[in-house]
Symmetry: C2
Subunit: 329 residues, 2 copies
DNA sequence: CTGAAAGCGCTAACAA
DNA sequence: TTGTTAGCGCTTTCAG
């Protein structure tokens, strides 16, 4: 069923049919009605591929995300919602560790996407450059843009971690372990540095440990590691909520109490962090707002390389408790 | 950058460039090499939209899922992985409650998808019929096919729920509340019926309650409802894991112990069910296997309307405990 | 093995 | 306001 078929049925030209669907205002009301009837009767739907080929706009946004982790699933839900409200579709590309990212990028580009949301630090500068060179709009999500090649939308990692660290200091914690995801990831690095610096400033000692790529499992492993070594900190800061939840389950599984024996904080504000079993103290990213900025940026004619930093909110849960000291310093 | 540009650079015809990428075997090795070099130099990537228009195959699978719930996120991750291994892409469409599903279907079809995975019971028979009529392959996932219109891939809901109910009976439970999601959904109905029937057969009383559409919140509400009424059952069966997790958090939040005061079971086997804080007793769907069947069905030339029932596995967690009775009957 | 040519279904000048 | 026309970039006969 093509616009030609509908045209002959309605006794108009193919162009008129096309116009009724793409710019209805240019068609006389009576004609429009006749065309719409003929189209409805035949279940005609304009071919988006042909439209793309001619108009050079696909209304498709490509999304490249790691295949693991709760955080991005949360983001994808919101992104699909907002894109579809803006008449755009989401073409999804995931990859894990060893996957061929160059192949993924080739595939994204072959579909003539109107824009790409990049949500992984595993993508190199060269790879980002490939997309930018092909004149496709790119926005980095939840990570600083590679070498100022593209705009990015990020939470205020440093401010958030500082806030959490200060909270731990204020509640009397004196030794902290920071559990990271992948140290080479800029986001992880930023969060870690901010936490460490803040703790340092207040004379609180901190250590860094890192275990594996799957966040929840990494948290579990980190907890097991801490327990086995015997020297427990009085607080653990997770680089993300999912890591923190793993840490909590690991510690509790070993018979320890969170927060009585060890306090735990997260970062992101995923839905699970609010679940009753955890009620995690964390710093919530305003995902809806971040997605809105992303969608807006992608829709712009010309793209700068600004970094949009979106302020999150401190969430006081029940995974941090006051430490009372007999004598301090 | 088009195949024409590459062609003139390599001194061959446009057709030869096209062949080098779509059917390399038909091109002489030497020519192929020259073309590939010219293409690489110019970062040429074949236009998938043009290919689709001509060949009538987009290599895109449309996926229609509800925007809420952990279960489908889990499925989507697996689906993207398997599709991309098969050289196909996933175009995502979500909707929530009041959204215009007909519009969503129109949109899916406009993109000339090679197939559609339908994963929601909110889609009517007429709507499924629309897709089938347009000769696009449809597979219903995790729900019986609408009126035998399409094949479907489902877990053995009845067998799974029977197993769970029998387990509750065997561990001495005498009063059970089943918490449903949306009673009109075929999947929910099947699960509820199977549970109730099994309990009946063993003389165990059961009630049914249903609260809201968001699964976790529904579970919380159900727990609050039960606690406020004062008459607690000795077990709660959730229609899904996410509902069950909400129930657990609700009960525990009210100061009750799961499983000591009330046992809880789920259904699905989502990752969170295994998290240490819950360790839910449930029936796990073999999602990877179900997705594999779906991808296979979608790839078939002709589609029947078979229902593929995939056997899941009982997962013994720590949310059900033995009930000891002083005297029974 | 390679080239010429037609056309997939649509948009966008341009003419009428 | 509507029709005519020329492609968008590719696949696919059909010749050579």
């Amino acid at each position: 069923m093509t616009s030609h078929d509908v045209a002959s049925a309605a006794g108009v030209s193919q162009a008129t049919v096309a116009r009724t669907f793409s710019s209805p205002d240019l068609v006389a009301p009576a004609t429009k009605l006749r065309v719409e009837e003929a189209a409805a009767l035949r279940a005609y739907i304009p071919n988006a591929m042909a439209r793309t080929l001619k108009s050079q706009r696909s209304r498709i946004i490509g999304v490249v995300v790691p295949s693991q982790g709760e955080y991005y699933q949360h983001v994808l839900t919101e992104l699909t919602r907002q894109l579809s409200a803006a008449g755009q579709q989401l073409l999804m590309f995931t990859f894990s560790g060893a996957d061929d990212i160059d192949g993924v990028i080739t595939s994204v580009l072959s579909y003539q996407v109107d824009g790409v949301m990049l949500a992984s630090s595993a993508i190199s500068i060269q790879q980002t450059q490939r997309i930018v060179s092909s004149e496709v709009h790119v926005v980095s999500f939840n990570q600083p843009a590679a070498a100022g090649l593209s705009p990015s939308v990020v939470p205020d990692n440093a401010a958030g971690m500082r806030k959490l660290a200060e909270y731990l200091v204020a509640t009397g914690h004196r030794s902290v372990v920071f559990v990271g995801g992948v140290a080479t990831a800029p986001t992880d690095k930023l969060r870690h540095q901010s936490a460490t610096r803040t703790l340092d400033e207040h004379g609180v000692s901190s250590r860094y440990i890192e275990v594996g790529a799957h966040p929840y499992a990494a948290g579990l492993d980190a907890a097991a590691h801490l327990v086995s070594k015997g020297r427990l900190p009085d607080a653990v800061m997770g680089a993300s909520d999912e890591i923190a939840l793993g840490v909590i389950d690991g510690l509790r599984g070993a018979g320890l109490s969170v927060p009585d024996d060890v306090s735990v904080t997260g970062f992101d504000g995923i839905p699970q962090a609010e679940w009753g079993a955890y009620d995690l103290t964390t710093y919530s990213q305003p995902v809806a707002e971040m997605v809105r900025h992303t969608v807006d940026l992608l829709a712009q004619d010309t793209l700068g390389s600004d970094e949009v930093v979106v302020r999150g909110t401190f969430r006081q849960g029940k995974t941090v408790s006051k430490r009372e000291r007999i004598a301090d310093a």
